[in-house]
């Protein structure tokens, strides 16, 4: 039993944090947020030079062959700096979808490109509001033998503007599955949609008989598994963002004076921040449990991932909003970074589905677990 990251993993965190503190600055987040750019390409390349996109992809597919725990560390650090990159879409979702699929030419050709950062993937699952409920997809895929054509509209697609390919959820004869569509091919129309966080631009993807490769062996159970994996990794990204927002509030509470004293000396501020600190540690604990289940392949991943997801979504929102509150009027200005976290918190809570959806997933998993326990007994 060891309930924390290893010394090697913590040493890696130090390296990552140092590099990101220098390179992944809030200036660069704003450069994407305030422009038509869809990502920070130089930063993306910098990550690729470190091999980070492929850290949890095996060496056969061009990755570093490290484990999920290293990817969790990376996710947390990227979250801290609000990196304006499609990392979660490409690495947490698209790469994991390819890893879940049977080894076919589509996997062996695309996965190495994701690992090297050469290709960026996005996750096209939602079809409007309430999009995570993928049980009744309108998007259809027709074809056979792996070669399909997809038709339908996917919106919103996070990081859809910067992606080279999409993992599209569509149904074939009523059964949901996942398909890879090269977004540079014909039959794909892509439009930018204004979003809450323009440092991670959104797209609407319209497919009209677009050529698609089926991800073999991926059915409803595997889609659930994909969401559990992605939710675990993203929970670390949310945890990182939340910690950074809290630290920002704490730093301000120490330097700002009112009524002749530092505002952090007032219990109204101090206790608010203390409560958030306790919440951060609770969420971190939920995240650890999920990271362990993910890295060890434990059957509790469904419950653990949902718990980490619910905990992290709530936490990031709380830390982002209270950081702004501690800053007073300054917190409501464009100039302060508070709103960057507030925006990102909402975006990440929406990506992969909202808390109502995840609560149901959690209870379904618990009921399943409970009835199988009863059977075993």
């Amino acid at each position: 039993m060891q309930f924390n990251f290893s010394e090697d993993q913590e040493a890696m965190r130090e390296e990552v944090r140092k590099l990101l503190a220098k390179e992944s600055t809030s200036r660069r987040v704003r450069d994407v947020l305030e422009s038509d750019r869809t990502l920070d390409k130089d930063l993306w390349q910098l990550l690729a030079d470190q091999g980070w996109q492929g850290i949890a992809i095996d060496e056969v597919h061009g990755g570093a062959g490290a484990g999920y725990l290293e990817l969790c560390v990376l996710a947390e650090e990227l979250g801290r700096t609000l990196a304006p990159l499609p990392f979660s879409s490409s690495v947490f979702v698209a790469a994991e979808a390819l890893k879940l699929a049977q080894e076919t030419p589509v996997v062996s050709s695309w996965l190495p490109k994701v690992a090297s950062g050469e290709a960026i993937g996005c996750f096209a699952i939602a079809e409007g509001v309430g999009g995570a409920h993928w049980g009744a997809l309108k998007c259809v895929a027709e074809g056979s033998g792996g070669a399909f054509a997809v038709s339908g509209t996917k919106s919103v697609v996070i990081d859809g503007m910067s992606a080279d390919f999409a993992i599209v959820a569509a149904q074939t004869n009523g059964t949901p599955g996942l398909f890879l569509v090269d977004l540079m091919d014909g039959g794909v129309r892509r439009e930018h949609i204004d979003g809450i966080d323009e440092s991670r631009p959104l797209a609407c993807l319209a497919f009209d008989n677009a050529a698609a490769d089926q991800l073999g062996g991926v059915g409803p159970a595997e889609i659930d598994q994909l969401l559990d994996r992605a939710a675990t990794l993203m929970a670390f990204e949310q945890l990182g963002g939340a910690s950074a927002a809290l630290e920002m509030g704490v730093a301000y509470a120490k330097e700002r004076y009112a009524f002749g004293r530092q505002i952090g000396s007032f219990q109204s501020i101090k206790h608010k921040l203390a409560d958030l600190y306790a919440e951060v540690e609770l969420t971190r604990s939920n995240c650890f449990m999920a990271a362990w289940a993910l890295s060890s392949g434990d059957a509790s991943l469904a419950e653990a991932a949902a718990s980490a997801r619910l905990s992290a979504s709530k936490l990031y929102f709380n830390c982002a909003k209270e950081n702004i509150q501690v800053h007073g009027g300054m917190g409501f200005t464009w100039e302060l970074d508070g709103h960057l976290h507030y925006r990102r918190a909402r975006l990440l809570s929406a990506a992969l589905g909202g808390s109502t959806y995840w609560r149901e997933r959690l209870l379904t998993a618990l009921s399943r677990r409970n009835s199988s326990d009863t059977r075993a007994a």
């Binding site: 039993m1 309930f3 952090g264 101090k270 921040l273 969420t283 650890f288 718990s307």
Partner: protein, 401 residues
């Protein structure tokens, strides 16, 4: 990151489980909170004689020099066998008094007390809080005055758990009222059989009597029973308190299994409770908290196993426990509707007892408000409140009623 047993840990768990199954006893009729401590002494003695007592202590004091992880595994197996409550009830003796003696005591004190504690011969209590000094613990008034090789102690302590059963106590006193409050304290080990010690149980809001008032009238304590230097009792007391918070947070259950069963048994007007949307939402949030608390406790244990003392982080676990446990128990009662007003409505009144006992969770071992100060100041590094009493000699600090 590994929440699984290693092969060696799994083997240890098997041995622990087998030993506990062979040595556990039925104490339900005997052990009623606030009434009888014999089963607690008995279980401690059985563990010690069987080679399973005070697992992580040095052998010279009656321990087994096992790792913290092995200690944790044994606790988990005790809980699984339903006898964990007896060790938990002894946590003031083991987790606080013994831990403080181990860290701060003299060799003579260690030799005199630790092995007796390990053998279950001595139960300890904690004489810290006073009627006017709980959260503001450094404001205690119980006076210790030097008299030759002894100290004479006078004052009143309160909220002392299990003082009615205790053989010995850890005690904080004021030895010098002429210096600022944190600097005039001295820490002692007190034989509860000493003349002048009077214990009066307090009837709690929950109906039980875990807590007591303890009056000290001209109680004589040999200087050999002093822990730490004269005037440096505050530092010793902090060692005790950090251990206390780590202990409390891991002692109380999160009650998730109770509420899970309840939602499957109760019928609401629109069907089984488990099918109700609002109930499902509450259950999901409760589970997330419950699993998070589990993992947080394991993280603290893991830190301990790597040789770290329980730090201010342990306060986070305790802060996260009380208020939320209280809120969720309120939800559980609501499910029972009118019937929930009756003690017998569910599980022999266990829920009702928890609902009343949880009040104490937010007060004992540092109130929620004090814990927030500790987290804010000692973990986040926020500035303290301006304090009128910090540099003032204790006997010049303004007092109210």
């Amino acid at each position: 990151m590994n929440f699984d047993d290693t092969p060696a840990e799994a083997e240890y768990r098997q041995r622990a489980r087998a030993w506990i199954e062979g040595n556990t006893f039925d104490f339900r009729g005997e052990f009623v909170s606030g009434k009888n401590f014999d089963p607690i002494r008995k279980w401690q003695r059985i563990k010690h004689d069987g080679g399973w007592g005070c697992l992580h202590w040095p052998r010279e004091y009656g321990g087994q020099e096992a790792s913290q992880i092995e200690n944790l595994i044994f606790s988990q197996e005790e809980a699984r066998a339903g006898i964990g409550i007896l060790s938990v009830a002894n946590s003031i003796t083991l987790g606080m008094a013994a831990a403080t003696i181990m860290h701060c005591g003299t060799q003579e004190q260690k030799d005199a007390h630790l092995e007796k504690i390990a053998r279950g011969e001595k139960i300890w209590c904690q004489l810290f809080s006073e009627p006017v000094a709980g959260s503001d613990l450094a404001g205690i008034k119980t006076r210790a005055e030097r008299d030759g090789d002894d100290w004479i102690v006078n004052g009143q302590k309160v909220w002392t758990s299990y003082a009615q059963f205790a053989d010995w106590a850890i005690l904080v006193t004021r030895s010098d009222p002429n210096v600022p409050k944190h600097k005039g304290l001295t820490y002692f080990l007190l034989d509860m059989k000493s003349p002048g010690v009077e214990v009066r149980p307090i009837l709690q809001a929950s109906g039980g009597s875990d807590f007591n008032e303890v009056f000290l009238n001209d109680v004589r304590i040999p200087d050999a029973n002093r822990v730490g230097e004269v005037g440096e009792g505050w530092g010793v007391a902090l060692t005790t308190l950090m251990n206390e918070r780590a202990a409390i947070a891991s002692v109380f259950p999160t009650n998730f299994d109770d509420i899970w069963s309840l939602t499957h048994e109760v019928e609401l007007s629109n069907g089984p409770a488990i099918q109700d949307g609002a109930v499902r939402s509450m259950l999901a949030d409760w589970y997330v908290w419950h699993k998070g608390m589990d993992a947080l406790s394991l993280r603290l244990q893991s830190a301990l196993s790597q040789g770290r003392e329980p730090g201010p982080e342990a306060s986070a676990g305790k802060l996260l426990l009380g208020a939320r446990r209280q809120q969720y128990l309120e939800h559980a009662f609501d499910l029972l509707d009118i019937g929930g007003a009756a003690t017998s409505a569910y599980d022999d009144g266990a829920l009702q007892f928890a609902y009343l006992r949880v009040i104490g969770n937010r007060l004992e071992g540092g109130t929620d408000e004090i814990l927030r100060n500790i987290l804010g100041e000692r973990v986040l590094g926020l500035p303290p409140e301006p304090r009128v009493d910090k540099a003032t000699p204790f006997n010049e600090i303004p007092v109210g009623r």
